[in-house]
Subunit: 90 residues, 2 copies
DNA sequence: GACTTATTTAGATACTTATCTAATCATCTA
DNA sequence: TAGATGATTAGATAAGTATCTAAATAAGTC
């Protein structure tokens, strides 16, 4: 599960998506508009982020609205701080 | 540069290496002993971690001693917290 | 210098992934 | 229900990566 989070964070497009969502929720289309790549590719990235638990999606009529899942962020920060502090053998 | 950090963190073997180094410095051999994979593969992982700036290496006679680079950890935590707080458009 | 031990590098293979286009699914509107 | 719009899924391709064995480099010992 942690694997998925870091793999998701490893791609700059996906990090940019997260940064966009951090300021406010957006629909898939609004997100896709921010990138020069194909709509389908952005959709794929959104799927990766959703799978990792970093974002949540909710259908709103024709649109699908994405938002940041802050819980997973917090857990990830906690994990890193724990390793950094030498406290993590697990 | 951030890319390298998250890509490095995406592999469970490498995270485990970081966790080991968090408790104390170790030589490449000591680290390799902890894993069931080939020595050369661990060496490769160490290279990835070093490249990402997450660890530093120093030759000590025949051995090469690895240690955690806490600075990059701190920066990474900072980045995540910043996104999490909605403060990062960059 | 030859031999041993510690580590990295090279080359090969299998697997994963980012991207694309085309097709499909979902919802709304006329 | 047909057509339009928004979004995901499928299939293909090219690039990246984790692993291996074998070879090379570095340092200590005899």
């Amino acid at each position: 599960m942690r694997d998925g989070v870091f793999r998701a964070l490893a791609d700059p497009t996906r990090r940019r998506i997260l940064e966009l969502l951090a300021t406010r929720d957006r629909t898939a289309g609004e997100i896709a508009d921010e990138f020069p790549i194909a709509f389908a590719s952005v959709s794929h990235h959104l799927g990766v982020l959703k799978n990792a638990g970093l974002v949540a999606a909710e259908r709103e009529g024709q649109h699908v609205r994405y938002r940041l899942n802050t819980t997973v962020f917090q857990e990830t920060v906690k994990y890193l701080m724990n390793v950094f502090a030498g406290g993590t053998d697990a």
